[in-house]
């Protein structure tokens, strides 16, 4: 074997910890590349199976490849940062060796070659491992995806049974291996050139790190943390590069975790937004057709619609309850017949500000609920059964998309005149009031800019029956038959009906969201792991390079406790610093993500506190554990041995 290769190999063998971490980093990134390529291929195959080959096939394939490339770019970026850091560290550990080689006549090319050989050897171990792991990841990913695809098909959400086949191709392997290898060699390139350019004289003189600047530390540090603290601050300042690498890698992990946290929160918020009424598993709806007739002068002449009365609604409730005796509640409203012009003093300031109900007549919505619920609400409002209750709430979404709920009216017992459209005017007395948080959510799903009054009974042009039945699918089937029996022109109740199996629908949404989250977390988690391999190997290499420093400190009487204290402080400093950069950047990215998702759904921005807390705890424990682990290993080495060996 060539000498340069041999020296690279012995570096790999002697620096075991560093080698393992670097191989892990390389393996992870080639695993991710393999899995990405595999998933792209398998999605492409799935499309081909379902859709067949047609003139769009090339375009679809190109789009899939483009998506794959986006992910690959992120993976490559992370691994270049991490792997080049690994090579920089190992090259700086070998500085002295390179100096000796140069002084016996090695050329620049040979020095660079030796670093590149390291890359080749590490790739030879790491990439095959990574490809195998990548296939497992692909298999796992496909089975997770198929699981939810299968559920979607069974629950009738998808009309076709799409499954991802497990697909591999020689080209895919070639691509993953080649890209991984090129990434590693590219990462080794700069450190190799730098190593080759070190002047022989500097390298021979160097005992480890080449240039050491005099680092000043504030008196405050020394006062707060003692001599050990001052030493810790000094070493952080001195080996800036090593610490920077740690801080950069930790920062990347923090940003990734924050973005994933924000993404999952946003997904959940979107689902919550789609299903505001919790606890409801299914509902049936009656709605009347509405026909407007206009006169010659295009004045509204007549509105033609059908209504359901309280009696019929209750009858249907009773019928629905027959299904396993489930609980069914009903809400109906008439939002067509009346308009109202509330007196000016009834408006709250907020209403005036928004201008939403301020001027002229507004729609008056008369609502009714099933008998049991009505009695409960009357009790809540503190009025006798038979009263009319003002539902004093308004949901308002501004032009900028901000949603707020507020109290629109000042309640006072009074009589309002309702103007009838194609019906006689009528008077109504407001006896009581319910505020936003006293009103059941299902009544608010009608949410409109209107004056809403709960009345004992009215003729409703829309009526909803809700249930919390466990077997939502069965109930939905049953409800359909009940609706069919009661609603229709021939049944004396002209109108439309619609039954919705919310629980199943929600589960479908959650299944999709869960699958997406699985892939997001998987991707982000693996990227973060790549970054962490770098953190661990940087810290342990740094400590190894400082063995001599520790030996000297101990030989002048510093205790192990003192050294431990110094290392603890160092890990605190680097953790704090990466949090300082990572948290704001992560928040910014999270906000960017929200802004993107807000285009699709109205969700409020929330700081992902859980992710923040996770990062803080995670970062401190990772650096601390690594430091302690590496330190315990250096402590085991004999003092004299260390000083002697470093003198070789």
């Amino acid at each position: 074997m060539k000498l340069t290769a041999k020296l690279a190999l012995s570096q790999i063998k002697t620096q075991k910890g560093h080698t393992i971490m670097t191989v892990l980093g390389i393996a992870l990134s080639s695993a991710m590349l393999t899995a990405t390529a595999g998933l792209v291929l398998s999605t492409q195959r799935a499309f081909e199976i379902v859709l067949g080959r047609d003139s769009y096939t090339p375009a679809r394939t190109a789009a899939l490849i483009a998506v794959g490339c986006v992910f690959a770019t992120m993976i490559i970026a992370a691994s270049v940062i991490v792997v080049s850091n690994a090579f920089r560290m190992s090259a700086s550990e070998r500085t002295r060796q390179f100096g000796i080689l140069k002084s016996v006549g090695a050329t620049k090319k040979q020095i660079a070659e030796s670093v590149i050989y390291e890359g080749v050897f590490l790739s030879v171990i790491g990439i095959p491992l990574g490809v195998i792991a990548g296939l497992l990841v692909e298999l796992f990913g496909i089975s997770v995806a198929n699981n939810s695809l299968g559920y979607m098909y069974e629950s009738n959400a998808f009309a076709i049974d799409i499954r991802l086949p497990f697909a591999v191709s020689p080209l895919m392997f070639l691509l993953a291996v080649a890209v991984s290898f090129v990434t590693v060699i590219l990462s080794a390139w700069r450190p190799a050139r730098k190593a080759a350019n070190i002047a022989a004289i500097d390298a021979v003189r160097a005992k480890g790190e080449v240039k050491i600047k005099n680092a000043r530390t504030s008196k405050l540090t020394a006062k707060l943390f003692g001599f050990e603290g001052a030493l810790a601050a000094k070493s952080v300042k001195r080996s800036r590069r090593g610490f920077r690498a740690t801080v950069v890698s930790l920062t990347i992990s923090i940003v990734l975790v924050m973005v994933a946290g924000a993404f999952s929160a946003a997904m959940n918020a979107t689902i919550r937004l789609a299903f505001p009424v919790s606890g409801i598993t299914a509902f049936a709806q009656f709605s009347s057709p509405i026909e407007y007739t206009y006169g010659d002068d295009s004045e509204l002449e007549n509105i033609n619609y059908s209504t359901i009365d309280a009696h019929t609604a209750e009858k249907i409730i009773a019928k629905l309850r027959e299904y396993n005796g489930v609980r069914v509640s009903g809400v109906g409203m008439n939002n067509i017949t009346y308009t109202v012009t509330p007196p000016e003093e009834m408006m709250t300031d907020k209403t005036r500000q928004t201008g939403i109900l301020a001027h002229g007549p507004t729609r008056a919505i008369l609502m009714m609920v099933d008998g049991g619920a009505y009695a409960g609400l009357c009790e809540k409002a503190g009025v006798p059964v038979g009263s009319n209750i003002l539902l004093n709430t308004l949901r308002f979404t501004s032009d900028r998309g901000k949603t707020s709920v507020f109290t629109p009216y000042n309640f006072a017992k009074q009589t309002l005149t309702l103007t009838g459209n194609g019906a006689p005017d009528t008077e109504i007395t407001l006896d009581g009031v319910l505020s936003s948080d006293e009103i059941p959510a299902e009544m608010l799903s009608f949410g409109q800019a209107a004056l809403m009054i709960l009345v004992p009974r009215t003729d409703a042009n829309v009526y909803h029956w809700y249930t919390n039945a466990k077997d939502s699918t069965g109930f939905a089937e049953y409800a359909k038959s009940v609706m069919a029996e009661n609603i229709g022109s021939d049944k004396g109740l002209p109108g439309y009906y619609h039954v919705s199996d919310i629980a199943t629908f929600k589960l479908q949404q959650e299944t999709i969201a869960g699958t997406v989250m699985f892939f997001v977390y998987g991707f982000v988690g693996m990227l973060a792991l790549i970054a962490l391999t770098s953190v661990i190997s940087t810290i342990s290499t740094n400590l190894r390079a400082r063995r001599r420093e520790f030996a000297v400190l101990r030989s002048v009487g510093m205790t192990s406790d003192g050294i431990r204290k110094m290392l603890n402080l160092e890990s605190v400093i680097s953790s704090a610093r990466s949090l300082l950069y990572g948290l704001p950047i992560g928040l910014l990215c999270a906000y960017g993500l929200y802004s993107g998702m807000r285009l699709a759904a109205e969700i409020p921005f929330r700081v992902p506190w859980l992710a923040v807390a996770g990062c803080v705890v995670g970062i401190f424990s990772i650096t601390w554990v690594t430091m302690r682990f590496a330190a315990s290993r250096t402590r085991k080495s004999n003092l004299i041995e260390t000083i002697r060996r470093e003198g070789v």
Binding site: L3, L7, K13, I100, S103, V104, G105, K108, Q110, V648
Partner: protein
């Protein structure tokens, strides 16, 4: 007699501006082939600097170094590296061995770098000369200081260089090991007619040389034939 080494107006200034240090101040001298030259001088007088320039591991501020007719500062870096591995053997005070290679591999280093076949006979004779035949497969950390220094001498000798440069080769050794190391260097000086330049603080070593160069503050203070 033809001189193998010719140093002319050699100047080395470290740093720039007010903090610059003139380590060598226009030094000139010649060394004949086969000569044993000792360089002595106070600490900080510029001895190591001189040796690094002759060995081509550092570049001069001004002046020239000519070895065997080659002006070494006219060579580019890789030419210099190849020239060095074939013509110059360097020995340091700290042995500068590669800890992961065995003694014999360390000795063979200049050849391995040259991609030349390891010459078994040559290696055996060198191991015998330095008295480490039974330690050939040992790692540097398994050898004593004197033994390690002998390995680095073996490394300097392996390619039959025209010039051997040694910077305080005995600085780290006890008197017995020192004597062994110097005897070894003298032996190869006589046997192979190699030019030997030794920097030393040790008078006992200096007086064994053919010629002594005394350096002070970057200048040659005296250049005298030894009174043997």
């Amino acid at each position: 007699m033809m001189s193998i080494l010719q140093v002319k107006d050699l100047t080395k200034i470290y740093g720039e501006g007010p903090t610059s240090v003139v380590a060598l101040n226009g030094v000139s001298f010649r060394v004949d082939k086969g000569e044993f030259l000792a360089i002595v001088g106070a600490s900080g007088s510029g001895k190591s600097t001189l040796m690094h320039l002759i060995g081509g591991v550092d570049r001069a501020t001004a002046g020239s170094v000519t070895i065997d007719g080659h002006d070494i500062f006219k060579l580019n870096e890789s030419e210099m590296a190849i020239f060095r591995r074939r013509n110059i053997g360097i020995i340091y005070q700290f042995y500068n061995l590669i800890p992961t290679l065995t003694a014999e591999e360390n000795i063979m280093l200049p050849r391995l770098i040259d991609n030349r076949k390891p010459d078994a006979d040559k290696l055996r004779s060198i191991l015998e000369t330095i008295g480490l035949s039974d330690r050939a497969k040992h790692l540097p950390s398994e050898l004593s200081g004197g033994q390690q220094q002998r390995v680095s001498i073996g490394r300097a000798l392996i390619n039959d260089p025209a010039i051997i440069l040694a910077d305080e080769p005995t600085g780290n050794l006890d008197s017995r090991s020192s004597r062994e190391v110097i005897d070894l260097l003298k032996l190869s000086n006589k046997k192979y007619h190699q030019t030997l330049i030794v920097i030393t603080h040790d008078e006992n070593i200096a007086i064994q040389a053919d010629r002594i160069l005394i350096i002070s503050d970057g200048n040659i203070l005296r250049d005298e034939e030894a009174s043997q």
